[in-house]
Symmetry: C2
Subunit: 247 residues, 2 copies
DNA sequence: CAGTGGTCTAGACCACAAA
DNA sequence: TTGTGGTCTAGACCACTGT
């Protein structure tokens, strides 16, 4: 085999975990022990365990040891809940999710204006440099940061509306947009995943090596894009659910 | 600051890249040079660069150096393309995507039967241990592996149909299901992300540290689940696109 | 050949947890 | 105090690249 030692050790440990040799919540042998068992240096064991942590099989507590991860309940976020019913019920998308998943939501908002960068401009179908309103939000569930979101709207479109304020009122931004004459026709969501920056990982409490789910949502009013929203969330706690009609 | 050196170095290098000090495709200073610049050991530089590679900012070529990544074109996969039109047009979902994204698709299929595990059973709403047909597929684009997929169907449901064969015929599995009297009503897709196992990363040609997009698609016929499909793909080359009506 | 990235080792130090 | 995970260092070796 040409595979590196840390990969083989990770594979062996993974097998020992999935075979049930170490049960959920149980502690793995200590680093020193594993160094002896496999006859390798400390860092090599660390690399192997890092891999298993990234896969979500193992979590670590400094000073205590490595433990087989318990299957955490995953919050499923229904993305088709952006319908008019929910909007007029006076709740934004995040609050709707919170109600469904049964956690206490908190949202911290910062609002400012800036010139649209290339990416934002392309999503909003406006020239680069156009003034946009930015709504930067930190969403917490029971106090823990779980989602980061940044919305961009053409500034002239929301001039003088409640959208320019931190508190957008009942129904949130989408309700205000509709009042302003922009009846929403549909949303397009682009879903991807990426590795977070260290600072981002820390604020979202993402275990080392775990990816972030990245949703870019564009809201359309009569086929004109009126908002683009960049949403990041931890992939070990959230799952997106889409329903597609077979027609 | 209490942040570790490799994080600070990664942040500094990221700034130097995004500010344009190093352009797309340009080579970063060598490891030895950076060791001198920052006054740290080889491994510390390596950790910093590993972070930037995971973020997709940097790619490396052994023996040559580290290079600022070029923005690769991302293939957008429209998920609402599972409609009857497309199915009866004689193409499976992957072939439809291929046509849209303009690459030459190849699919390698292995078929067998086994007893449903807990997860599969729960998605199919059958007792654990029920016989299921497994269709394990490797999808290639222009020769490169880009998607791994494993479908599970209740065995009694597809008994004696073309679904049990490697080649399911025009329209694929879904078309055969409809012929067998299971008219598809809707699909539910669960989207998440995770870190791949090393073997998986290698076969999907995923750069170290890059996540995998994981789609679990359940096909329903009159509200009865008839197929669950676990799909993995590289997150640096694919993006899922969902369209949601505002109603 | 010399230079590059990637990995492994041996040893050290730190913060933290449990006894 | 002892043992734990996590990180950094200095040095070594390998595979690979371009000359």
């Amino acid at each position: 085999m040409q595979t590196r030692p840390w990969i083989q050790i990770a594979e062996d440990l993974r097998l020992r975990i999935t075979s049930g040799e170490y049960a959920e919540g149980e502690r793995l042998p200590s680093g020193s022990t594993l160094m002896g068992e496999y006859g390798v240096a400390r860092q090599t064991i660390q690399n192997a365990v890092d891999q298993l942590r990234a896969e979500g099989l193992v979590s670590s507590i400094a000073g205590r040891g490595w433990f087989v991860s318990k299957r955490r309940p995953i919050t499923r976020l229904a993305r088709n809940r952006l319908s008019a019913d929910e909007r007029t019920a006076g709740r934004g998308a995040f609050l709707t999710d919170a109600a469904a998943a049964d956690f206490t939501p908190t949202v911290t908002v910062r609002v400012w204006k800036e010139e649209a960068g290339e990416e934002v401009a392309s999503y909003l179908d406006v020239p680069s440099g156009t003034q946009v309103l930015v709504r930067d939000r930190v969403m917490r569930a029971d106090g823990d940061v779980v989602q980061l979101a940044a919305s961009y709207l053409p500034a002239d479109l929301v001039q003088g509306t409640q959208v320019e304020h931190v508190d957008t009122g009942p129904g949130g931004t989408y309700a205000r947009l509709e009042e302003a004459g922009f009846a929403l026709s549909h949303f397009t969501e682009f879903v991807s995943a990426r590795s977070p920056r260290p600072a981002e990982a820390e604020s979202l409490r993402i275990p080392h090596g775990h990816p972030v789910i990245q949703v870019t949502r564009v809201a359309f009013a009569a086929d004109r894009p009126v908002e683009v929203n960049f949403i990041s969330m931890a992939s070990d706690r959230f799952q997106l659910v889409y329903q597609i009609d077979a027609r």
